[in-house]
């Protein structure tokens, strides 16, 4: 039987099925699911928010449960149809449907305690769904 879990005073590792955790390379993503040497990508929150007309500086904002103290990693998608989404982008979703037109949709700006949405031209109202991860890019 393959060893899958390795727990000592200085190690906590879980390997993928078929991989011996005792001999697995801790840097190989194909080998381990958890290693005490690296951080896994955890999710802080998910949800859906409506985006309607707004004016500076009153933008739609979504608060996190608490101030993270750093700017997190966020994925978002504009919902085009029920249960459908188009043009998934990191942090933003603006791609020209018509290359002769201005970009339309929205930008999503993550901050330490919330994210802000900046709606551009296009439909008068729509919704986006989002996932806020714990991942920290830098000290700001």
């Amino acid at each position: 039987m393959t060893n899958r879990v390795w727990l000592t005073t200085d190690k906590f590792r879980v390997s993928k099925p078929g991989v011996d955790v005792l001999t697995a390379d801790p840097e190989d993503p194909e080998a381990l699911l958890i290693s005490e040497q690296t951080q896994n990508l955890g999710i802080l929150m998910t949800g859906v928010v409506s985006v309607n007309t707004h004016t500076y500086p009153n933008y739609p904002e979504v608060m996190y449960p608490y101030d993270l103290g750093y700017i997190p990693f966020i994925l978002s998608q504009r919902i085009i149809l029920e249960d459908e989404a188009l043009n998934t982008k990191l942090f933003s979703l603006i791609n020209n449907i018509d290359p002769d037109e201005d970009a339309w949709g929205y930008y999503l700006y993550p901050m330490k305690d919330r994210f802000r949405i900046f709606r551009t031209t296009g439909p008068t109202g729509f919704s986006i769904r989002y996932t806020v991860f714990y991942a920290k890019g830098g000290s700001l």
């Binding site: 840097e27 993503p29 890019g137 700001l140």
Partner: protein
Amino acid sequence: MGLISGSTYGLRVSKAGVNALTASHEDLMFDSAALNTRILATGSIPYVLGDNTARSKITDQIVQLPTIDYEPAVFANPVYRLRTDGSPADPLGGQYFGASSLGAAPIIFEYLRWEYDDSNHRIIFNSMISRYEQMMQSWVSAHPVLHYIIFSNKSS
């Protein structure tokens, strides 16, 4: 942790109030039967104002990675600061925010690219943005930095 079902062994951690043995995937904080990703490196790189230009740049900045035999997935984005002198004033003036990576308002973003040096296991960043004083944007100030997160996914 142990025998999950049949002859399958593994480790499951469920959300509070949920039985880990019977929980569906969305109720598990961790499931050893599912793929996940880990973070290889994070950090920030400051943009430097170019000489006699209206551009701020990052030139051949190196992030050293562990010894890996694949090209990792990279996420990177500039971080700016909201102005404090807007009219009307932004209630969040002075706060940092992660800017879009696309080249449209309110950030004039020209390029951001990185390459993986597989011989030396490192990522090399290059980027250029328009100088903020000339952007005439209402809610951006201060020189940006580039935040990056490098994941253990094989992207190629």
